[in-house]
């Protein structure tokens, strides 16, 4: 019985120490809304992410207030009226990389993988799945994904007066750059 406990503890610590996640705080997330009256774009270049390539776990987190718009008033409304960033400061994705082939970070290569998990925006979690491209070049790992998010799925209310200004489907692009060499 004691042995079993010992094994279990070892197993636990083994799981922990096997983690060597890659971390970035300077990822870029942008979104694009195409509607009849206007196109709206915003960029968040302080997207943070951690990927454990050994186990295939992915976490991406960004603060809503870090999205910058060309139009300052639009940015204010985005935070105040749509995303309510005081109440829901961050958007978070937690998921897994689904792939048949192992991703080898020590060799240059390109992998197309599926990423599946839960995306929380505006305090609402929805299942999300997207294709991501992972590129390894000279110890630099780049992960890029594009997907569609629908404001309605996240209880983001769009009043009828601006229905022609804001798209029902928002195109989101995230690019994450990691370095495998320790600084």
């Amino acid at each position: 019985m004691k042995n079993i406990l010992l094994v279990a503890v070892l197993l636990c610590t083994g799981v922990l120490s096997a983690q060597n996640p890659l971390i970035t705080r300077e990822g870029t997330t942008s979104f694009f809304s195409h509607a009849p009256l206007e196109d709206i774009e915003a960029v968040n270049d302080k997207t943070t992410a951690a990927i454990d390539f050994v186990k295939g776990d992915v976490v991406v987190k960004m603060l809503i207030k870090h999205f910058t718009f060309k139009n300052a008033l639009m940015q204010e409304h985005f935070n105040e009226n749509y995303m309510e960033s005081e109440k829901f400061p961050a958007a978070i994705f937690k998921g897994k990389i689904l792939t048949d082939e192992a991703i080898d970070l020590s060799q240059d290569g390109t992998y197309s993988v599926r990423v599946k998990g839960g995306l929380t925006i505006h305090g609402v979690e929805q299942a999300a799945e997207a294709t991501a491209m992972i590129t390894v070049t000279d110890g630099q790992v780049t992960a890029k994904t594009e997907f569609i998010a629908r404001p309605a799925d996240y209880d983001i209310e769009i009043p009828t007066v601006v229905v022609r200004n804001i798209a029902e489907e928002i195109q989101v692009t995230t690019t994450l750059n990691f370095s495998t060499t320790k600084e």
Binding site: I23, A72, E157
Partner: protein, 287 residues
């Protein structure tokens, strides 16, 4: 028996590893998250509370066009369509030179007044790494009354047409829905009737309450500390802010006709509770 427990343990471990591993990754991210300072956003929807300014300055490079109307008095009756036959208007432009410094000018048809102003955000309410409990904005405006003299032979020198307003606007967004503002004010007229002082101090108080994300109720009151025995009244205004996309509509009821600081703070002649109420609106468009 022990083998079974072992397998159970392994199975449970595997089951919770995935979700737990992601939570661990997340806390790993959050551990190294630098503590940031967050500027409290949108203490007020607009740069004007109702008649007067709010602490809000425009962002650098943004230009705001304002059209404001004040109609005649509600108690003027049906013949004047409750004041709607009689309107005065102010057109204005505000521009953000920096995030903290906004300048603007305007022209009010009431007494054909031109005004210029500058406002500077001295302190901005923020939380996080550094906490500042209030926003403080300094405000200065100058106004020129360009009405022709009643007697065309007399000349009114420019200096006698000019007046200045100095304000310290202190505001706090107490909750996401409720903000208050205090406005200690000094209005200086270069020339005044004999029984009045050139300088008038006043204390303004105002606030806004959000009813929905896009609709708020605002109130604003300026208490004059001197010259209370004149025929003038303290400026009182109640209104709503309605926000639609790039516009903010403000609809209000006030006892002031003027939309320039020196005018409504010092020269309000309407008795709000006697029915001398002007309906009005401000519309802003930001570019």
């Amino acid at each position: 028996m022990s083998k079974r427990i072992f397998y159970c343990c392994c199975f449970l471990l595997l089951l919770c590893t995935s979700a737990r591993a992601q939570d661990e990754l997340l806390s790993l991210l959050e551990e190294t998250e630098p503590e940031e300072t967050t500027l409290t956003p949108a203490t007020f929807k607009g740069s004007r509370l109702i008649n007067g300014h709010t602490v809000m300055t425009r962002r650098k490079g943004s230009l705001e066009f304002l059209i404001a109307h004040r109609f005649g008095r509600l108690n003027s009756g049906a013949y004047e369509l409750f004041g709607l036959d009689n309107a005065n208007v102010r057109f204005g432009l505000d521009y953000g030179l920096t995030d903290r410094l906004t300048v603007g000018f305007g022209r009010n048809s009431f007494e054909k007044t031109y005004d210029v102003f500058a406002k500077f955000a001295i302190l901005r309410q923020q939380s996080g790494a550094t906490t500042v409990p209030v926003s403080v904005t300094g405000f200065v405006s100058g106004a020129v009354n360009t009405l022709r003299p009643i007697d065309p032979d007399t000349e009114v020198p420019f200096s006698e047409r000019v007046s200045y307003t100095y304000q310290l606007l202190v505001a706090r967004k107490i909750s996401p829905n409720f903000s208050v503002q205090l406005m200690p004010t000094l209005v200086h007229f270069n020339i005044v009737p004999e029984n009045l002082s050139n300088d008038l101090t006043a204390l303004g108080v105002g606030g806004r309450l959000l009813l929905t994300k896009r609709l708020s109720v605002n109130a604003e009151y300026y208490y004059r500390l001197q010259d209370r025995e004149t025929d003038n009244y303290d400026a009182l205004a109640i209104g709503i802010d309605l926000e639609t996309g790039g516009h903010v509509f403000q609809l209000q009821f006030t006892n002031s006709r003027s939309m320039v600081e020196k005018g409504f703070i010092r020269e309000t002649t309407g008795d709000f509770f006697g029915g001398d109420i002007h309906f009005g609106f401000n519309i802003t468009r930001t570019f």
